[in-house]
Symmetry: C2
Subunit: 512 residues, 2 copies
């Protein structure tokens, strides 16, 4: 039982043949192997083992699920999900080698963070590299994000996380000395100012290559809404061509691989429905820095049910994000805005796009709150971009909406991105009626957002909520407060069930 | 676009036909559906959606993966993994209905915990119920466990968690007024006292229906080691029969469903490699309470690389676990023991079982440290169980080892459990040689544990580490410090690669 004389050279097991499953598991690479295949036996692999799968000089780490019997796989076959298949760029029957995945040293840093220690820059870099390389399981990703929420990242950790997220992605560079950007930290349904701001700013001759995200926990991101008006899934060369021609664009950032680690974090945050300050700052800034921006105007809506609930925490957030940005030579200007109720009338990709069109076209009945917010933000950009004198930005912005220059610019940008189109309509629309006469005293943004999501937004582009009332308004019993829009009857039923359970989405107080 | 007149009654989509995949995904139920099937389209389902799957009055929540094309599934088929298949007790082609999974209210409590709030008993109950019903995804489970590690549970939260975990499981009841139990909080490789303690205690006429877990983060749990000597996968009626006949048993607790939520938590803790005090206490006590125990002796090894590193934190843990136990009428007696180095010579299921046999058989060369620890713990049980006077327990325990009564009882218990058998041998054994002459000044328990795990333990029963040296010993250059045992050459190579990278598993200091 003691001294052994086994050789230290071990034969590599013969490879397996690849089988494409066309199975979609999102970011998570999965492979399926036979419990009785020679690799599982010789390597001692079990279901949920993390394995290193390699073929033709490429490799990917994947979760192994094991299967019994020969219905799906021959004994020498391995089935791969789309994510794994595409990373390895496989062809049917290609030779694939599978071994135990190597120990991830960076998980020790995640554990140290969980136990209350701060992370140094090297630790943060290693974590982000492993995440971007898809080596973290859902469990590891959720643990890192939860630890960063429960024990918030300090400023230096946030700087390190931002830098590490930029490092693992693509990076854009522009000739212009000023590259403007705009961001809203979210939490306010319908606050779809970006397309309007880009149109105004580009119409004034500033460069604004705007990349936006899809929804994280909200019923629509800018990319989701914009996609109902024009293609947003641009590659880097198309984006460059659009910006060189028109000065601005409104593209989906995810197609750009500007911050691939963030694209993975965002999916997990969505499943958890948790936002954390450090992650949020790193998420926002890593994409701005990677996009080559020099200036950014940040909209921070403040309200009891917005993402930021008090002016004090908004100011704290503004200071923190400006400080982190300055580490990277980026000038961030934060505007605290009213976050007490939804902006515009639509909540959901297509419904928000319709509000945007109304403002740009200066249509009668265009939502004035959306117009004013967009003009304020665009005005700030014009001022820090040196296009108008201090204090004159908002007026200049409103003028370009009134005289049609912004609308012309928007159409030109859409055409350059692949063509302006009409947002889709929902086939299932159902009103929500006021149970009594009275005054609207409170609107719960979070519950409205959830209602729109249950109706199918953002995946279902036409789904969401269309508001018929606003704060302070007097309404009659039986008056329609909002309409729920859904693409399928199942989703409409799901949203209605939630609306019936939650009586406080819109609160109406008796007026005597 | 405003008022709609859609009916509020919605037809349920026609069911799908079940297809068994024989795919193993552990605790996580997964279903696979065609992207273009009518249910995915009408319900607006996407990959990674959480869905409610029902058939014949049973239901299970599952993660949906979507597949393209008709290679695996016809348009009206749904494929289910083993976990989902078994919960629904399906037959091939059974009718299965799929809808959106309902909103999990308990996740709001998890988020509140992440943001620093304590959980009340109702919140803890809801979380544990949803976990036991397998409604939590890996992301949700990891978030709850990470939050409970980063922001530790207080005593009342731990009491509530323990009680909730007992509530969702099976519960054993015994006629005897004293039902003894024993637990080691782990972290010390090779500390396999349980089979010896049970044999001694039962030989003295106390009732000790011992249920043990498999390894969480260690290379072997008691159930893993005991399984190499006798069947441990007993159902409740077999366990009752064994205990009625012999007074004691050593069974795997997982087969008993005493704490099904804990069985799920443990898998995630294993993937995270994180232990937390509150979870640990709830995990230990929920199983003791559910097993019907009235008294428990708890072994807390203390050492620089054990799970508990200082006497102060051991005392804190002892106080906390005794306090929580007393809420449930359970008397917990904690013993702080030496945790500076492995116990016995074997680390890994079969290698530890061989140490146990040597002690029980009073064999020449049986590890004396294991014998003394087991006798101390058994002695404490004999004393609190009223079988011997205070201070005489250890002597009585050692006597029953020397006179063969414990060995006779152990054989009788193994026969009652299904038959005593010989532990397996590893086919790949490789020595680790000392690079220099000197004295052993430090042994890193954690790294030894990892080495044994990389060699394949606990899944590979014969795998692990066999120690040839102990703390303080003088050794020569080239002397064998330990042997690595593996069942496969791949696992041996994996362990050796780790041993070569980590030079500080066993530290040898020059003696001049």
């Amino acid at each position: 039982m003691n001294q052994g004389d086994t050789s230290t050279e071990f034969p590599t097991p013969p490879p397996l043949r690849a089988k494409r499953l066309r199975l979609h598991t999102q970011h998570q690479p999965v492979v399926i192997m036979r419990t009785d295949c020679h690799v599982c036996r010789s390597e001692g692999l079990a279901s949920r083992s993390q394995v290193l799968v390699s073929s033709g000089g490429r490799e990917v780490q994947a979760t192994l699920f094991q299967i019994e019997g020969d219905d799906l796989l021959a004994i020498d076959q391995i089935a791969l999900t789309e994510t794994a298949w595409q990373i390895l760029r496989l062809e049917e029957d290609a030779a694939v080698a599978v071994t135990h995945a190597p120990t991830l040293e960076s998980l020790a840093s995640v554990r140290r963070k969980i136990y209350g220690n701060r992370l140094d820059s090297h630790a943060v870099e290693s974590i982000v590299k492993d995440v971007a390389a898809r080596r973290y399981t859902d469990v590891h990703l959720a643990a890192f994000l939860t630890a960063s929420a429960a024990l918030p990242l300090d400023e230096q950790e946030t700087v390190d996380l931002t830098g590490a997220m930029v490092e693992v992605g693509e990076r854009l560079r522009w000739d212009s000395p000023i590259v403007m950007d705009k961001h809203c930290i979210g939490g306010l349904p319908g606050n779809r100012t970006t397309p309007i701001v880009v149109a105004i700013v580009a119409a004034h001759g500033l460069v604004i290559p705007k990349t936006s995200s899809r929804a994280i926990t909200s019923p629509a991101g800018t990319a989701d809404a914009m996609e109902t008006l024009a293609p947003v899934d641009l590659d880097i060369s198309t984006l460059r061509r659009v910006v060189e021609a028109e000065g601005g664009c409104i593209a989906w950032g995810g197609a750009m691989h500007l911050s691939p680690a963030d694209d993975i974090f965002i999916r997990i945050e969505r499943e958890l429905d948790v936002d954390t300050e450090g992650q949020l700052i790193a998420s926002v800034l890593s994409k701005k820095i990677a996009a080559g921006s020099t200036h950014v105007v940040i909209d921070i809506p403040v309200g009891p049910t917005a993402k930021v609930r008090s002016e004090a925490s908004a100011r704290h957030f503004a200071e923190r994000i400006s400080a982190v940005a300055s580490h990277f030579g980026l000038l961030a200007t934060c505007l605290l805005t009213d976050g007490s109720q939804p902006v515009g009338r639509g909540i959901g990709p297509a419904l928000e796009a319709l509000d945007v069109l109304a403002v740009l076209q200066d249509a009668p009945g265009a939502p004035d709150d959306l117009r004013r917010r967009a003009a304020t933000l665009a005005g700030a950009a014009l001022e820090i971009g040196g296009k108008v004198a201090s204090g004159e930005g908002t007026t200049a912005a409103l003028a370009s909406l009134a005289n049609g220059r912004a609308w012309q610019k928007f159409q030109a940008i859409c055409e350059a991105q692949g063509g302006l189109r009409n947002p889709p309509n929902a086939s299932n629309v159902h009103p929500l009626i006021s149970p009594r006469a009275g005054r609207i005293v409170h609107i719960n943004n979070r519950k409205l957002g959830r209602l729109a999501k249950l109706a199918g937004a953002p995946e279902a582009k036409a789904a969401g909520v269309f508001m018929n009332v606003s704060l302070g308004q007097e309404i009659d019993k039986g008056q329609v407060m909002l309409d729920i829009h859904a693409e399928t009857s199942g989703e409409l039923a799901y949203a209605l069930e939630y609306a019936q359970r939650s009586q406080d989405i819109i609160e109406v107080e008796f007026s005597s």
